[in-house]
């Protein structure tokens, strides 16, 4: 039962990663791509680490996985923010407004 759950988590996590990877190629400008990268960085990592945690069971390994998770939980939004902040200060203007499926992204 736990095995099935952990495989589902790992599978969904991996899939999310790939979708995020597609996202950083489909979105039109830097800021929107940052959102796609953010997707994979957060939920994908959470799901995969949780799935691995179920595999590891209640042990020191699970604690280390938890530590990695905590670390990513702190650093990944911080890095995203630092990137966005630096880009904005560097004078990179975001594309704004609704882009109604012009097909070219």
């Amino acid at each position: 039962m736990i095995d099935v759950l952990s495989w589902v988590l790992l599978g969904v996590g991996g899939l999310l990663g790939v979708i995020g990877g597609i996202g950083i190629h489909r979105f039109p400008d830097f800021y929107t791509r940052l959102h796609a990268a953010g997707t994979t960085d957060t939920l994908c990592a959470i799901l995969i680490l949780l799935g691995l945690g179920f595999q590891a069971g209640l042990s020191l390994d699970a604690f280390k996985l938890f530590l990695i998770f905590v670390f990513l939980f702190f650093t990944s939004p911080t890095a995203s923010h630092a990137l966005a902040n630096a880009a904005m200060h560097g004078g990179l203007k975001p594309q704004l407004g609704r882009e109604n499926g012009s097909g070219k992204a």
Partner: protein, 99 residues
């Protein structure tokens, strides 16, 4: 199943690497490298449990750490061009730079 996850992560890393190579702006490249690093951490974690060598989890942790510090350092270098200027004085520089 470990294999499937590994392949998924590798595909993502490939896509991120492509963006890092293509990326029109330098920020695109840094974002892609950051994503690549996070995926590497996950890859090491998956491999550690797959092979049963769970001491590799320490390395995953170290990689997460170095990745974060590396991105911050590169961003500072891109933004300031050096490491020794005071972070607080950035506001002034920005005003001059954007003119």
């Amino acid at each position: 199943m470990y294999i499937a996850v590994t392949i998924a992560i590798l595909v993502t890393m490939g896509l991120a690497l492509a963006r890092a190579l293509m990326g029109p702006t330098v920020y695109d490249r840094i974002a892609a490298v950051n994503m690549f690093g996070t995926k590497t951490v996950l890859l090491i974690a998956v491999f550690a449990l797959f092979s049963g060598r769970t001491d590799l989890l320490d390395i995953a942790l170290v990689y997460a750490l170095i990745n974060f510090i590396g991105v911050i350092a590169v961003l500072r270098l891109v933004e300031h061009g050096d490491f020794h200027s005071n972070p607080e004085s950035r506001a002034k520089q920005d005003k001059q730079g954007s003119e």
